[in-house]
């Protein structure tokens, strides 16, 4: 349905502009870049969940052959960083609060020398009690982990709408549940790496893979005590991000090393590459959350009252936890209309790995609880889950739990629900299978049996862009070169190509806005020295913000062209309507600029003897507003589904006392080629957003969000058992299916 407008650059599945170089291996990622005379840096991590540093002696390490310098906390001018609060040390000086805390940096002639000098750094620790369960950490009287956060509570979001007690009293049925969603590792292809040097203008320059050049620049400058313009951040190719590069990894430590060496009279670049294990230990994870929900409804299916408590494990520092928590608070009651709602969401400080941004940003956790509740309610009422959704989904003008309507444009929740159900052949009556079976493969080659098949449904909504009063915006510049006619146009924009196809879409939109063929557009991207602040490549916001920035810039550039400026150069910053933070008492807010809407049907096969679950087929209906590049949208849907499949079934991130037991891809199991579904049906809907460029909404996170609860619904359909905890590892599934007890060995 997205394919009618194939004439212009918009709506066309143009091949990725970065594809030829990536396919042929010409593309250079940060780890591939080398400069003459470069030094190597290795990091000493604490490997302790909570401890006081009693003594730190780097003398022996500094005397080792090849070692140029060892840096510690004393070398950091302003020893703090953080995206929403400067609450984390660049290098720990007194206390370490998680295992990946950085204690020292060794810079040496070779990587091997730097590596070996790490062993010679002497650190004496006094272990402190490690708090690794947020439910314990938030109890009154628990030891305080971080001086900024009393009672270890980083943030509490209350939402109050209507009168929940009255709502429960008027309800015919009550459904209660307790849910757990686990940490998740981003597992991007490219582990963290970077190269720092002073550029020709003397700026501390870092080439690195990130998501937000100007935020990296700002945090580096803050720690070094420099004005922002003395720091330059460049993103060469980025090997995936998924939110995992939104916070600092190697950015500040590389800049620090180069800056300090320069002050010592050593003018040499510094490079570092993290191993996969360092990557897994060193960057934040998806928040694990514990969610309790009590929902009341009338017999006809109308939702009346929801009471939900969300406890999110933030780790020791804020990172983006308050924002993730806000999203979980908004989404834990699902995309439904509620007369009465009471939500209390807490982000709690612990000694686990910090938690932060990850595709979906709190919405997968919130929706797992919400959609489980909804599917249980449908079962309780004897009602078709699709019909129950259609009765309750938010529509235009309806007030959300934060007492404001969803933003302008079509609220396409009924449409995604109906289109998805229809495409999957969902049948309402319980005597028939939910899904038409004509496409089932004939004769299974699997050795697994006996197999039970089930179908599940879930839907979701999520915001586009940064929320809760953040001053959103995106800058772009366009240069039009030529004489009587525009011969070429240069688009300068900082937005990151993290593998999603962003740069291709930017160029398509520039071609459309300028009325030029794509071949005449040149892109200069992801360099703080050439572009203004674009914001982050996250929150499903790149297309939305880039499109609006490009449209405004193109209009200004064309005006200058008509005014006969040559070259015609325009700079423009798009600023969307302002959003609001939660009211401290009621949570009332207009939190978001725009939303995306999604629904999924899944088919699973459960091996009741082994507890293994196979995801067979997925139908995903996604309202994208306007499909700028349909093939890239399909890529996002397929990628999102597979990543969510890992979240739901195979990826088990295990820690013990704050230590990670699964720092390897041999025991942290991301889905492999044989694990992906046999079919993923992408159903692209185009109901325009009134603020979106050409009506486009963001969509990159949406396909991830409903998959886990759709799978648990399908497993229930197959086996009659509800699973309220992710991931659905074989031993958990088997245990619940058998409820047989063996005497555990002690």
């Amino acid at each position: 349905m997205a394919r009618e407008k194939l004439l212009g650059p918009l709506g066309e599945s143009h091949a990725r502009v970065d594809a030829p170089d990536k396919v042929t291996g010409a593309t250079r990622y940060p780890g591939d870049i080398a400069l003459p005379g470069q030094l190597w840096m290795k990091t000493l991590y604490a490997h302790r969940a909570h401890a006081r540093i009693k003594r730190l002696d780097v003398a022996r390490a500094e005397q080792t052959e090849g070692v140029v310098k060892v840096f510690t906390a004393r070398d950091v001018p302003i020893n703090e960083f953080g995206l929403i609060a400067f609450d984390a040390p660049v290098l720990a000086g007194d206390v370490v609060r998680w295992i990946g805390e950085k204690v020292a940096l060794v810079v040496a002639e070779t990587e091997q020398q730097a590596r070996q000098a790490l062993d010679l750094i002497e650190v004496e620790y006094e272990d402190l009690p490690a708090l690794t369960d947020p439910r314990e950490a938030m109890k009154v009287g628990a030891p305080v982990i971080h001086p900024h956060y009393a009672n270890n509570v980083l943030k509490h979001v209350p939402i109050r709408k209507g009168d929940v007690e009255r709502g429960f009293a008027e309800s015919d049925v009550i459904v209660e549940g307790a849910y757990y969603t686990p940490m998740q590792e981003h597992a991007y292809l490219q582990p963290e790496a970077g190269l720092a040097y002073l550029d020709e203008e003397g700026r501390v320059t870092v080439q690195v893979a990130g998501q937000w050049t100007h935020e990296d620049q700002h945090q580096i400058a803050h720690a070094l005590g420099l004005p922002d313009e003395r720091v330059r951040v460049i993103y060469p190719a980025i090997g995936g991000a998924f939110g995992g590069r939104e916070d600092m990894s190697v950015q500040i430590i590389l800049a620090l090393a180069v800056w300090r060496l320069d002050q010592m009279g050593i003018h040499r670049p510094v490079k570092t590459i993290w191993s996969r294990e360092e990557s897994i230990l060193g960057h934040h994870k998806r928040h694990q959350m514990w969610i309790r929900a009590k929902w009341g409804a009338k017999r006809d299916g109308r939702l009346l009252a929801a009471e939900v408590e969300v406890i999110a494990d933030a780790g020791p520092y804020a990172y983006t936890s308050t924002k993730v928590l806000g999203n979980a608070a908004v989404t834990c009651t699902g995309p439904y209309f509620w007369p009465h709602a009471r939500v209390d969401a807490y982000a709690v400080v612990t000694n686990n790995i910090p938690a932060g941004a990850f595709r979906g940003f709190g919405a997968p956790q919130g929706h797992f609880a919400a959609e489980q509740q909804m599917n249980k309610l449908a079962k309780r009422l004897g009602m078709d889950p699709v019909e129950l959704r259609l009765k309750n989904v938010l529509r235009e003008g309806a007030l959300t739990t934060t007492q404001t309507p969803l933003p302008g444009g079509v609220v396409a929740l009924p449409q995604v629900v109906q289109v998805c159900a229809r495409a999957a052949g969902w049948k309402a009556t319980s005597t028939e299978r939910h899904v038409a079976d004509e496409n089932l493969p004939q004769g299974s080659t699997s050795t697994r049996q006996p197999l039970a098949t089930g179908y599940g449904f879930a839907c979701a909504f999520k915001n586009i862009g940064f929320s809760f009063g953040f001053p959103e915006g995106a800058s772009a510049a366009i240069e039009l070169h030529g004489g009587t006619r525009v011969e070429r146009a240069v688009l300068k924009i900082a937005g990151a190509e993290v593998g999603q196809g962003g740069h291709t879409v930017f160029m398509q939109m520039a071609a459309e806005a300028l009325g030029l063929p794509l071949a005449q557009i040149e892109l200069v991207a992801s360099d703080t020295a050439t572009s203004g602040d674009f914001g982050s490549a996250s929150a499903s916001r790149s297309t939305f913000f880039a499109g609006n920035a490009i449209r405004g810039t193109a209009a200004a550039a064309l005006q200058k062209w008509r005014d006969e400026e040559r070259p015609a150069i325009a700079i423009y910053r798009y600023q969307p309507p302002a959003t609001e933070n939660f009211d401290a008492a009621t949570g009332r807010a207009r939190p978001n600029i725009a939303y995306g809407y999604v629904a999924q049907v899944v088919e699973v096969e459960v091996d009741t003897e082994t507890g293994q679950i196979r995801l067979k087929r997925v139908w995903c209906a996604d309202d994208v507003g306007k499909a700028i590049n349909p093939q890239l949208i399909e890529g996002q849907i397929e990628g999102g589904v597979v990543q969510a499949l890992g979240y739901a079934i195979t990826e088990n991130f295990v820690t013990r006392d704050g230590h990670v037991l699964t720092p390897y891809f041999s025991n942290y199991l991301i889905p492999g080629v044989l694990d992906v579904p046999e079919r993923i049906e992408s159903l692209i809907l185009e109901f325009p957003d009134s603020e979106g460029p050409w009506g486009a909404r963001g969509m990159a996170e949406m396909p991830f969000i409903p998959l886990a609860p759709a799978i648990t619904a399908a497993v229930h359909d197959a086996t009659g058992v509800w699973f309220d905890e992710l991931p659905l590892t074989p031993w958990k599934v088997w245990e619940r299916l058998h409820e047989r007890s063996y005497t555990p060995h002690s």
Binding site: R656, L661, N667, P730, Y742, H745
Partner: protein, 331 residues
């Protein structure tokens, strides 16, 4: 990665002599396990650091698959898993072995990983492989799995240490009554493969009978008797690139649907490949049907002592034995 010295061996005798001279030497073949092990930077009596790697790929004539109907199968120690899996002789005469050689890891690793390396690889226990845990195998005095995560650990024969042996080809070869040619300072000797692996009670610091200066040079499998059939089934959490939660290899002489003789061996359930003699004894002389197959599985797992999180493996092992035995009757 920590640096090490490298030595290219020219003969088995040369490699043995180098090992005898260097206590901190380790042998590298395909390296797919060893290099990861070194990168993990583990240390301790059962996880010694290597100062010197002795490369045995440089020894001539160590990669081969030889078969003749009378003498059986000979596999050179350095034969890549892919070569074993794709050998027409192996596929025809030992289908269970072929399947077991096709199941580890990924094509890239099967192209470099050797058959001997698959037998000699170290266990995957998270605590053993975790730098921060001083467990028994690393010379500590604690097994973290007992009170911790043990969903992949032993349900049979664990004591002190509850590792499971990770090899897929070991159960298949033991089911086929294979033997290992071991070379050492005193020359070569044959060791039956079902006596090759040792449990933690015998020595918690290693998993095989090999001494530091002994090497596994060749694997021999007897010629298949008439009506001899074999099979291998592996259950994993992920469908690719994963170690066995439970695997089972069966090889038996089946005549008129009756199990005359044979072996049943489990992988992933015990510190060594687990010879299910209870199943073998129960099957002897029995017609293979649902009842006898289930009985074989049930009897084997009577001895199971699951830990807090791995009782599911008991059921999987029972069911896998039944499935594998039944598959021989219908093969």
């Amino acid at each position: 990665m920590r640096s090490f010295k490298y030595y290219a061996a020219t003969s088995w005798e040369d490699a043995v002599a180098m090992l005898s001279k260097n206590a901190a030497a380790q042998v590298i073949a395909g390296g797919s396990d060893l290099l990861g092990w070194i990168k993990d930077d583990l240390n301790g009596p059962g996880a010694p650091r290597a100062d010197l790697l002795i490369d045995i790929r440089t020894i001539p004539n160590t990669s081969y698959v030889k078969f003749d109907a009378a003498g059986g199968l000979k596999l050179g120690a350095l034969t890549p898993l892919v070569t074993v899996a794709e050998s027409a002789d192996v596929l025809k005469n030992y289908p269970g072995l072929a399947k077991s050689a096709l199941s580890p890891a990924s094509p890239a690793i099967r192209n470099v990983g050797s058959i001997a390396g698959n037998l000699m690889q170290r266990p995957r226990c998270w605590y053993l492989r975790g730098k921060d845990f001083a467990c028994y195998k690393k010379g500590g005095d604690f097994c973290f799995a007992v009170t911790g995560e043990n969903q992949y650990h032993a349900i049979l024969e664990g004591e002190l240490c509850y590792i499971v042996h990770p090899s897929d080809t070991a159960p298949a070869l033991i089911a086929l009554n294979a033997s290992a040619k071991v070379v050492g300072p005193g020359g070569a000797k044959d060791v039956a493969l079902d006596k090759f692996f040792i449990g933690p009670r015998t020595n918690v610091l290693k998993e095989t009978v090999l001494e530091h200066n002994e090497l596994l040079a060749e694997i021999s499998v007897p010629a298949p008797a008439a009506n001899w059939k074999s099979a291998f089934i592996k259950v994993t959490q992920r469908d690719v690139y994963d170690f066995a939660v439970v695997s089972v290899a069966v090889a038996g002489q089946i005549e008129g649907g009756v199990w005359k003789d044979g072996r049943v061996v489990l992988g992933g359930v015990a510190p060594t490949p687990y010879r299910a003699t209870a199943a073998e004894d129960a099957l002897k002389g029995q017609k293979i049907d649902e009842k006898s197959a289930r009985n074989a599985g049930d009897l084997t797992l009577v001895k199971a002592r699951p830990m807090s999180q791995n009782a599911y493996k008991v059921d999987i092992a029972k069911n896998l034995i039944a499935r594998a035995v039944l598959s021989l009757a219908s093969a």
